[in-house]
Symmetry: C2
Subunit: 347 residues, 2 copies
């Protein structure tokens, strides 16, 4: 009896899988050609071996508000682990409540982006990590002062020594950037329904999500939003067909042009990842759209010249919800205390 | 041979323990009469059963910056889990970079305090939790708006329902306060060397720390700083013998007088806990002392009329370092996202 039951279950499972596969096959195959799943393990940051001590140091630095002039802003302030890796603000609030000029991109899966920042001005996470620290409207501390700060907190010395055992004088800004980058590379979100679909599970997406994926490919969204991060792999002009309103695309921010000074790069931005997009409102580099459906509609009009129906937008949005992966489980780091020798905050 | 060696080791251990105990006995006994160890498990918050769902909700709320008008300040901003439960600033930075008037007290072990805030104006953690939310220089949101906010974040509904299964309409400010209080009650730091000493381990303190404890008792520090939190159990005038300078005790802040309007309460403050004191600079309600030794010296002069020698101050400070317990290991909560229906931040 038991053997028969098992055999029947196997047959039934095989039939089910085949039926699902034959119906899915073209869409799944096409998707597998355009996208890749998020791996289950963090990727290697170029030239850096991620030892546990290095990841721990990077985590401490990521959460330490004393890397800011006021001792009040950490990496996690604008890229919160529990808020999809963002701050859920149109633009971030920095030193002395100054406002940033662009919406904070998510730190989650950022290791898979081809470059960092909306304009790609940092080649990788290491280069990115040092930016906000010294940006006067963000953390507003010089690199030199950041290092004085860390050297003034005695408890950091053993953490740096453990993380960089070969270095004679390990408390340097380069090592700060390396450590933060290595920690950030652990912030990946595997096993989204879409990842399971890409790995062959035809039941991982709902019928509506599959219809949305079909539209996402056929309408042309996937010509920019593709690869492992469903975006993050290239640059594109915003408003290539039809410029959106000045609230969404203000003429003053010329995007990548400000980096390359090349006319072709006017209003060009890095295509953002759509991974975990439901967790990271508001949308666009200006953070002007709180509604994901609105954002989908604006993108279709401005980038593809398509006026999608409500039904099409709903389906694409349903697909985008399948991009939400397992969020990182991070134990809050215990930071070494300030002492009488620590440079004091400038409030 | 082996049996003999073990037997010898046992004899030697017994002699050692006895020797340590006989020498320690009076100090340990005296300490056990004045102080109690932090328990290994969180205590019960009055009238509230701490289910896992309630603690999880409280943790989410504790870390959620959307309980502030700007969506930028959470409980954890001023009471950081990784910074000894404080922000390591003289006074906190609140809404639109306004400054608070008193140093943020630690959330760690705060459940053991007799009342909350420097002036004891909140009877317990539940009452405290609602305060900063609506303080215009802190989170600066009305209770009503806080509830609109949470109701506008669809993902909170199931969390409140799980935490308050009996309630028809569980998203209320009272429940917010309960949940935060229950989470905060988990933030205790057991097993400090001093706790081990109080439980009978004569070797848990160094000789210098024991000398410091002796001074701490004999000089009179323990007449206010006693009980489970080595403080936190009573009120006392600051400057009872000799008023410290106006930088440390400005005449404008009359402490508990502002709550009771009783002349006797002028410049009276809740005696702060000394638990984890090495992790929570700067010191005093004004946050004006970054050096723990300086703080010890000022307290001796102002409260006891004693001018301690450097050696005495060093010993007392060494004892204070024995009050650092195991810091809470908190997994960063994943918060439900804002949506098109969420009230937007006022930046």
């Amino acid at each position: 009896m038991r053997t028969v039951a098992v055999a029947l279950a196997l047959v039934s499972a095989t039939i089910g899988a085949t039926a699902a596969l034959s119906a899915e096959d073209p869409l799944m195959k096409e998707a597998q050609g355009l996208f890749q799943p998020i791996p289950n393990k963090p990727p290697v940051v170029k030239d850096v071996v991620a030892t546990p001590a290095l990841v721990e140091l990077g985590k401490a630095l990521y959460f330490d508000p004393r890397l800011s002039e006021s001792h009040n802003i950490s990496c996690n302030t604008c890229h919160q682990i529990g808020l999809g890796g963002v701050d859920m603000l149109p633009v971030s609030i920095g030193h002395k409540s100054q406002k940033g000029t662009r919406n904070a991109p998510t730190v989650l899966n950022s290791v898979f982006n081809t470059a960092q920042f909306w304009d790609g001005r940092a080649a990788d996470l290491k280069e990115q990590a040092g930016g906000p620290i010294q940006n006067p409207v963000e953390m507003a501390i010089t690199h030199q002062h950041a290092i004085e700060m860390l050297r003034g907190i005695p408890g950091y010395k053993p953490l740096f020594e453990a993380a960089f055992p070969g270095d004679k004088d390990p408390v340097t800004i380069q090592n700060v950037e390396k450590a933060i980058a290595v920690f950030e590379a652990t912030l990946i979100t595997p096993n989204a329904p879409f990842d399971k679909f890409l790995r062959g599970d035809g039941n991982a997406l709902t019928a509506e999500q599959k219809a949305g994926l079909r539209l996402f490919i056929d309408q042309g969204c996937a010509s920019c939003h593709n690869g492992i991060n469903v975006g993050g792999g290239m640059y594109a002009p915003f408003g290539v067909v039809e410029k959106p309103g000045a609230d969404i695309l203000p003429p003053t921010d010329k995007g990548r042009f400000q980096v390359t000074k090349t006319a072709d790069d006017e209003y060009v931005f890095k295509v953002p990842t759509l991974r975990n997009i439901e967790l990271t409102p508001p949308y666009f580099h200006t953070g002007k759209a709180w509604d994901l459906k609105q954002a989908v509609g604006v993108m279709a009009t401005s980038q593809l010249g398509e006026h999608l129906s409500d039904d099409q937008i709903s389906k694409i949005t349903a697909f985008l919800h399948s991009l939400t992966g397992e969020q990182p489980m991070v134990t809050y780091p215990i930071l070494p205390p300030s002492t009488a020798t620590t440079p004091q905050p400038e409030m």
